[in-house]
């Protein structure tokens, strides 16, 4: 998985049974408990609660605990938020303090 580029094409993913079709799947990669990482976590939680109305799954991955995932998922910057669903896949880097940019990245708002 190290060298396969992340597939950008819109693809149908089989949903787990019972999950609603417009569910958001987000993954936040942090490194330890630095202030930036903490603020990223709190920022995204706030945005999710405000905008996504509970239709989301947020996974927080600490790369210090699971370093091999950094290569596996092609993570360079910390913090990185990956929006896996709904497609297309997006990467948002930074402590997510710029809410406007985050919303654009999550396709919740157009520029």
């Amino acid at each position: 998985m190290t060298d396969k580029p992340i597939d950008l094409r819109v693809h149908k993913k089989t949903e787990p049974a019972g999950a609603p079709s417009n569910k958001w799947i987000l993954r936040l990669y942090v490194a330890g408990t630095t202030a930036r990482s903490m603020s990223a976590i709190s920022n995204i939680k706030k945005i999710c609660e405000e905008k996504l109305d509970g239709r989301y799954v947020l996974e927080v991955i600490d790369l210090y605990q699971q370093p091999l995932l950094a290569a596996g998922h092609q993570i360079i910057a910390i913090p990185t938020l990956i929006k896996e669903l709904p497609p297309p896949l997006r990467r948002i880097i930074g402590d997510l303090s710029d809410t406007e940019k985050v919303l654009v990245g999550l396709d919740l708002k157009s520029l």
Partner: protein, 586 residues
């Protein structure tokens, strides 16, 4: 390593006190000019434009470290995927796939798609550190390559953050104790386009491709190497199926030891002309002549003689293919094919226009280091003036000759003199490098052109000063005896003429001699017979005289006897003394 390579290393390692621990690159020439390789546990920079060979050089550093020096390595690739790298590196003869499988090398392909990324707040590149750290720890790596940091600059939106992080990264690598090599694009005003040399300034190497006369050659230069003496010139290098080769030939000092042994030229009469036994071992010989004078034949004789002594020979040909030379030499009775089959003779053909002059030198020296010959022949050396100006050719040949002499290899160069020029002008003007110079010329007179050979110079030996005629027969080169005729040396038809004349006059002389001898015989015979006649006459006279004398004697005795008898009869005293008449005195 062959003896030749070891010798090269010994001769060319610059003197230096150990100042900095270094990590060998495994590229022999590069290790020599850096004095031991890259600075250990520091970061070095390789900058160059596209296609100059940065990735391959960095990769060879990493792989040789894993294969030869037991230092596993991590290759962080920002441009090419692992599969692409495996295929590319295969072309220079390295098995990256195998090394990855053996856990000697880890390749981490970092893929960043600019279009995917949205910047929303502050960030750093910790994940990169984590990835690198994980890879290093996984195999206990001692070497790291980052190829190429340009990709980071083009993918990440904030260069200020990137620079800060890179600075942090190099410190982190230093703390980890790994020897790092970073590749970067060359800049126009600065060493690297992004100015990375500010952070990575322990060792900076610049690669470039220079194009002269439409021929490209690769060059490497050590721009800086903190804390170490290093070769500062621009060195040509090649990348071929065995990786990177760099031969740091600089003008060495004229300090080679010489041999007093001789090597035969392959033609006995030529050895005699040279003063006895041929050329000095380890000397440089030039065979020059205009087109068609037989240079290749003489050089093939030399090669043949060396092979018979069981010595290895390399024959570099720049005009004809090996098969052509072998075929042509068969017509003069030289079987070069047997030596090629035995592996004693290596024939290497290349057109001068095929690559740059420096590259020719490197390839030649590589072959020589591999094959370890005692004799090297270059036929002809003047072909190089097609691709470079005379002073460059002279410079390269000087380097080559110095190197050959330091290895004790006897070298023979062929030189084509353009027709119309005086023969002593060597087209590449290398007469000062040459120990023995043999000139082949066409001697034209009486409407014929015949082949002549002349030893222009041969340092240290008492050589002949005659122009001798030679023939190419099917037993090889035959040097003829000298015939001095009315107009100087007679050659060809004139010589045959003289030979015939001599033969005729010889016959004539012989006849005359015989005639005279016959004459003499005759006269002697006549004399003898005359003497015999006179003797006979004399004998006859003698005998008659003797007879008469005898008769007289008998008569006298007879007379005296008769008288006595008569006296007796007359009663005369026998002892009658005659009365002396006394004189009466008055």
């Amino acid at each position: 390593m062959t003896k030749a390579k070891e010798h090269l290393n010994q001769k060319l390692m610059p003197e230096h006190r150990p100042q900095l621990p270094k990590a060998l690159t495994g590229i022999d020439g590069l290790d020599i000019i850096t004095g031991g390789g890259m600075p250990k546990a520091r970061a070095s920079l390789i900058c160059g434009s596209t296609g100059t060979g940065k990735t391959l050089l960095a990769m060879e550093f990493l792989l040789k470290g894993a294969m030869r020096y037991n230092e596993p390595g991590v290759f962080m690739a920002f441009e090419e995927s692992t599969t692409d790298l495996i295929a590319n590196v295969n072309s220079i003869g390295f098995d990256l796939k195998g090394l990855i499988a053996d856990k000697k090398v880890v390749v981490d392909f970092v893929y960043i798609d600019r279009d995917e990324i949205v910047e929303a707040g502050e960030y750093n590149l910790d994940a990169l550190f984590i990835r690198l750290g994980a890879a290093i720890d996984a195999i206990g790596a001692k070497r790291v390559v980052l190829d190429t940091i340009e990709s980071l600059f083009s993918s990440l939106p904030n260069p200020a953050v990137l620079r800060a992080e890179l600075r942090r990264l190099f410190c982190w690598l230093k703390e980890k104790g790994v020897t790092a090599v970073i590749t970067a694009e060359a800049g126009t005003d600065s060493l690297s386009r992004q100015g990375i040399e500010e952070y990575v300034s322990d060792c900076v190497i610049n690669l470039r491709i220079s194009i002269e006369d439409r021929v490209a050659s690769r060059r490497l230069r050590i721009v800086k190497y903190r804390g170490s003496s290093h070769g500062t010139n621009e060195y040509p290098f090649v990348i071929d199926g065995e990786g990177v080769s760099l031969i740091p030939i600089t003008s060495s000092r004229l300090e080679h030891s010489v041999s007093h042994a001789s090597v035969s030229s392959g033609i006995q009469r030529l050895d005699t002309m040279l003063g006895g036994e041929g050329f000095f071992k380890g000397s440089v010989i030039l065979m020059s002549g205009t087109s068609g004078t037989g240079k290749t034949t003489f050089m093939s004789h030399f090669a043949d003689a060396a092979c018979r002594r069981n010595e290895r020979v390399i024959y570099f040909s720049f005009e004809e293919s090996p098969d052509q030379i072998i075929r042509n030499m068969r017509s003069v009775g030289l079987n070069l094919e047997q030596w090629v089959k035995k592996g004693l003779l290596v024939m290497e053909s290349r057109r001068p226009t095929q690559c740059g002059l420096d590259m020719h030198l490197i390839l030649a020296l590589k072959l020589i280091a591999e094959h370890a010959p005692k004799v090297v022949i270059m036929d002809p050396v003047t072909s190089f003036s097609d691709i470079a100006n005379p002073s460059d050719v002279k410079r390269i040949l000087m380097k080559f000759v110095d190197h050959m002499k330091s290895l004790g290899i006897t070298t023979m160069f062929g030189s084509l003199t353009p027709s119309g020029l005086p023969s002593e002008v060597s087209a590449v003007n290398i007469s000062s490098l040459i120990d023995s110079w043999i000139l082949l010329r066409d001697l034209e007179n009486n409407g014929e052109r015949n082949r002549g050979i002349y030893i222009l110079k041969s340092r240290g030996m008492n050589h002949s000063n005659q122009v001798r005629e030679f023939l190419l027969s099917d037993q090889g080169v035959e040097i003829c005896d000298v015939y001095i005729g009315a107009g100087g040396v007679a050659t060809g038809g004139a010589r045959l003429n003289m030979l015939a004349q001599e033969k005729a006059s010889g016959l004539k002389l012989q006849e005359e001699i015989e005639l005279r001898q016959f004459d003499l015989e005759n006269k002697r015979n006549v004399l003898d017979s005359r003497i015999a006649a006179m003797r006979a006459e004399f004998a006859a006279e003698e005998s008659s005289n003797l007879k008469m004398i005898a008769q007289e004697k008998t008569r006298r005795t007879q007379v005296s006897a008769d008288r006595t008898a008569m006296g007796k009869v007359r009663n005369v005293d026998e002892h009658h003394t005659p009365v002396k008449a006394k004189r009466k005195s008055k």
